[in-house]
């Protein structure tokens, strides 16, 4: 019954067993072949995938370089700020933690709702930003209550800060997140969240200030949790930059400008072209732009019709008024049209064609030589000589003295201004030049437009006896030697004597601003912003009348100090300041005295 010894059955069984064994071996071969394909043939592909699985690259942002003034005073640096995060897995009750935090720093309702919503979506170990850029004192409060606030996590970050608020804001600019086009800039490379300079030195020196990014390779697990750091290449701090501005003078100048709505003070070192002060008002506070939310502040800036973002020293264009007379006089002297003895009689006006050209002094200056004409700022003298010189010769001299040019300094958006000539007018308006326009140009009105920096450069060239002074804003260690414009030597001596008289002799237009402690020379300028009507001119006291601010004349002064071997050149422009003598010259005096005191 239980026998199983049939031979036939065994041979069948043996055959079947053998077939089954073959089947199994072949299945094993298939599996083996499959493993060969995965582990040997495609291994490289899977190795790459495994690496990608595993390694995340984190960019380490570099610290932005600092900006110093000429005396190593920090103008722009980075302060530590702190961001507060909450990690859902570390708190039993996220609501309670937020409540506790709210006691210290207000978290507004909509932010709070966003945080709570996010906490439900993200993985529970991922940190959610609650507060950004909190300062030390807030951090201290949070730290001291840390035990009560479960699940918070604080990271350190840096924020750009400007130590002197609006004092050097135009010059230095400010930083912000790059816009869509700026993200493509080469120096940003792999740092889309990098704050970059948007204006001034911050913008021009972005590549230097930014430094080099570092990176951190971190191993992450399948949930994105960071397991360990694999490699770290630290970032390189950006280069520091030292500018030529002397903060003390800059602050002093801004203080003087305070009582005026808008204006500019530029002070240069004639010897090396260093700009020691280039103050413009109104200005803005870059710290308020950087700190979010900034919308209110931005709006207030954009709505201000005085346009605080405009850097008047290089972007404001003004008719130079009488400060242009030195150029005309020099042109007259070098072309032999006048010498120190040439005189013209001023009776208050001259006629050309069917028009009358008035002197600012209604009843005239009487007989004037070039020295007196500059000292008393007689318009008629310059009308007379400009007729003989012609506009083209005047404009050539103006260009030699630095007008109508954009300087090679790292400040964006300089305005070039206008030095008019016959060619210029032909090109610009397709009209020929009228002789009357030469007269108007000779007193720095009409087409002539300059910015305050150009006026300071012009004055520097005069003061340095014709050295081709070039302005400079980045501090350099090497000595700079400017070439001398030989052909103007004689003329400049005459002009400098005249400019001395303007300030230091009775009847000089700036005599009231003369300084005993810091004697200086200069030239006033008052530039009309509108045509004066005949009726107004006939009313005796039209200049003294209270006119609407916008219609008042611009007040200008250019000057240099000391009188012998001058070192400093200044330009002062006060928009709608009234007159150069009354408004601009006193500011120049204060600047010179302050600067001289610093030297001691």
């Amino acid at each position: 019954m239980f026998y199983s010894e049939d031979k036939k059955q065994y041979s069948v069984l043996n055959r079947r067993t053998f077939l089954l064994y073959l089947l199994k071996v072949s299945f094993f071969s298939i599996v083996g072949w499959r493993l060969y394909n995965i582990q040997i043939k495609d291994s490289q592909k899977y190795k790459t995938l495994s690496k990608n699985n595993q390694i995340d690259v984190e960019i380490i942002y570099p610290l932005r370089g600092k900006i110093y003034d000429t005396n190593n005073k920090v103008l722009a640096s980075n302060i530590k700020v702190f961001d507060v995060y909450i990690i859902p897995e570390n708190t039993k009750n996220i609501n309670k933690s937020l409540n506790e935090l709210n006691q210290i720093i207000k978290i507004n309702f909509s932010d709070r709702r966003k945080i709570l919503e996010l906490s439900k979506k993200v993985k529970k170990f991922q940190k959610i930003k609650v507060l950004e850029n909190i300062n030390w004192s807030q951090l201290e409060k949070i730290e001291s209550n840390k035990l009560n606030i479960e699940g918070i996590f604080i990271t350190q970050d840096y924020m750009r800060t400007y130590q002197f608020d609006n004092t050097v804001s135009h010059l230095i600019g400010y930083t912000n997140k790059p816009n869509r086009e700026e993200v493509e800039l080469p120096f940003i490379s792999n740092m889309p969240n990098l704050e970059i300079g948007k204006d001034g030195i911050e913008k021009s020196f972005n590549p230097n200030l930014i430094g080099k990014s570092g990176q951190r390779e971190i191993e992450v697990n399948s949930y994105g949790r960071v397991i360990r750091e694999i490699s770290r290449q630290d970032s390189q701090k950006g280069n520091d930059i030292q500018i030529t501005i002397d903060l003390r003078i800059q602050q002093y100048a801004l203080n003087l400008l305070k009582e005026h709505k808008a204006g500019s003070v530029v002070l240069m070192d004639i010897n090396n072209g260093n700009i020691l002060c280039m103050a413009s008002t109104p200005s803005y506070n870059p710290n308020k732009i950087i700190q979010k939310p900034n919308k209110e502040y931005w709006d207030s800036i954009l709505e201000n019709e005085l346009s605080p973002l405009t850097y008047r020293s290089i972007q404001g264009l003004y008719a130079p008024g009488s400060t242009f007379k030195m150029i005309v006089a020099i042109a007259g002297i070098i072309h032999g049209i006048i010498d120190t003895n040439t005189k013209h009689f001023c009776n208050g006006k001259i006629g050309l064609g069917d028009r009358l050209y008035h002197c600012w002094k209604n009843n005239g200056h009487g007989s004037m030589n070039v020295s007196d004409a500059i000292k008393e700022s007689c318009d008629v003298f310059f009308y007379e000589i400009s007729k003989k010189i012609g506009i083209d010769k005047i404009s050539k001299v103006a260009e030699d003295f630095g007008l109508g040019k954009i300087y090679d300094i790292p400040l964006p958006n300089q305005k070039k201004g206008i030095v008019p000539s016959q060619d210029w007018k032909k090109k610009k308006y397709d009209e020929s030049w009228y002789p009357g326009e030469t007269l108007i140009s000779a007193i720095g009105q009409g087409f002539v437009l300059t910015n305050p920096l150009q006026l300071a450069v012009m004055t520097s060239i005069i003061a340095s006896n014709g050295k081709n002074v070039k302005p400079n804003i980045i501090k350099q260690n090497n000595e700079i030697e400017f070439e001398k414009l030989e052909k103007y030597q004689n003329a400049i001596q005459i002009i400098k004597r005249s400019m001395f008289k303007v300030v230091n002799e009775t009847k000089g237009t700036a005599y009231n601003s003369r300084s005993v402690s810091a004697p200086f020379a200069g030239k006033t300028g008052t530039s009309q912003v509108r045509r004066i009507t005949v009726a107004e001119r006939e009313s005796e006291d039209f200049r003294k009348k209270e006119v609407e601010w916008k219609k008042r004349d611009h007040a200008l002064f250019v000057g240099y100090m000391p009188v012998e071997n001058p070192r400093y050149a200044v330009s002062v422009v006060i928009e709608h300041g009234g007159s150069g003598a009354s408004t601009a010259a006193p500011i120049a005096k204060e600047i010179f005295q302050f600067t001289k005191n610093l030297e001691i």
């Binding site: 019954m1 239980f2 026998y3 199983s4 010894e5 049939d6 036939k8 059955q9 069948v12 069984l13 043996n14 079947r16 067993t17 077939l19 089954l20 064994y21 199994k24 071996v25 299945f27 094993f28 298939i30 599996v31 083996g32 499959r34 493993l35 060969y36 995965i38 582990q39 040997i40 495609d42 291994s43 592909k45 899977y46 190795k47 995938l49 495994s50 699985n53 595993q54 191993e219 992450v220 697990n221 399948s222 949930y223 397991i227």
Partner: protein, 365 residues
């Protein structure tokens, strides 16, 4: 008795222990270089089950033969009770508590199926195998557990029961045409089977067909396990250096996917070594089968070998993307008591069959 111990097949025992130790090493690595929680318990189980296997190897084969159907019915009842707990209790489950041990009856039933079929064909005269009516009983033995496991639902185990049945029936010498017909029936029953599938099981099948389509969803498991295998290369990343594993990209790395961990850490050389060990173990079973003088021993050994084969092929095919992920462990390597118990005691039975291979009549033994 001493004679029996001396004649035990120590190659088989050595292979079991070696493979289990490789499993323990993998579990040690899966725990991030720690014996806890898996490797230590894996080794304790190995020790206990080996003792159990020795006992089974040394007891009288007559006893095993006589109780073959009883064992089958007992395990079928266990399976049924799991099913009933699933229906009346706290939802679907595959486990049941027996004397404080949590076991999976679906793993044990495969062994009792082998025993029942071995006894059935042992009792059957060779001429009678041809008769259609003698197909009824084996098919019933296969169909009852198959249906119960499908209802659990445990697709992988159901499939392995079906395959095991086919292999044993083939080995026992039934006519090829019946066999072919059976396979056809099975293929046509697939659509019906699909209806029983839970959504997650369907997901697994579809993700198998195109894993890259949904790399973070359904295909994630498969892609990650292929990355683990592939990134191991020829020699592997080194013991405890499997980044896929310790960074938790590998799903179920201590159970069904342990093979990929070994593949990542020991490379192609490691995976081939394991495969060859299994092939050797299966070959030993086949050798014992051929050597055996009685049908009971023959079918038993071939059945146990085939069972092992099914586990290994399904698991490796699964983790290497040759077939859908159906939840089959790698025997002796994966963490899990029931499968290990089933495999080791079944090999204990094979040892017994070898010791009694010379017998012609079991009832006289």
């Amino acid at each position: 008795m001493l004679n029996k111990i001396r004649n035990l097949n120590y190659l088989l025992i050595f292979l079991v222990i070696l493979i289990s130790f490789i499993g323990a090493a993998g579990l040690y690595s899966a725990a991030g270089g720690s014996y806890n929680p898996w490797a230590s318990r894996h080794l304790i189980r190995l020790a206990l089950f080996i003792i159990l296997a020795f006992i089974l190897a040394l007891i009288n084969i007559k006893f095993i033969y006589q109780f073959a159907y009883v064992f089958f019915i007992l395990s079928l009842l266990l399976l049924l009770s799991v099913e009933l707990i699933g229906v009346f209790g706290k939802g679907a489950t595959r486990w049941i508590n027996v004397f404080g041990f949590s076991i999976q009856p679906s793993e044990l039933i495969k062994i009792t199926i082998i025993l029942a079929l071995a006894r059935f064909y042992h009792d059957l005269k060779f001429d009678e195998i041809k008769r259609i009516k003698n197909l009824f009983f084996p098919i019933l033995i296969l169909f009852l557990p198959f249906a119960l496991v499908v209802m659990q639902p445990d697709l992988g185990t159901a499939l392995s029961i079906a395959m095991l049945g086919i292999l044993i029936l083939f080995a026992s010498g039934i006519r090829i045409w019946k066999f072919v017909l059976g396979i056809f029936v099975l293929i046509f029953s697939i659509p019906i089977l699909l209806n029983y599938l839970q959504p997650y099981q369907k997901d697994r099948i579809f993700s198998f067909l195109n894993p890259e389509a949904d790399a973070l969803g359904r295909g994630y498991q498969l892609i990650q396990s292929k990355i683990a295998l592939g990134s191991g290369g020829l020699t592997g990343k080194g013991f405890l250096e499997g980044s896929q594993s310790y960074l938790q990209y590998l799903p179920e790395k201590q159970t069904d996917f342990i093979f990929t961990l070994i593949g990542e850490e020991f490379g192609f050389i490691g995976t081939m070594f394991i495969i060859l060990l299994f092939l050797l173990l299966i070959s030993v079973c086949f050798y014992i089968s051929i050597k055996s003088n009685h049908i009971f021993g023959r079918i038993l050994s071939i059945g146990v070998g085939s069972n092992l084969f099914i586990y290994v092929i399904m698991n490796i095919s699964m983790v290497s993307g040759l077939m859908p992920v159906v939840g089959i462990p790698l025997p002796l390597v994966s963490y899990g008591g029931s499968a290990m118990l089933a495999i080791i005691i079944s090999l204990g039975l094979v040892l017994n069959a070898e010791l009694n291979g010379n017998l012609k009549k079991i009832h006289n033994a």
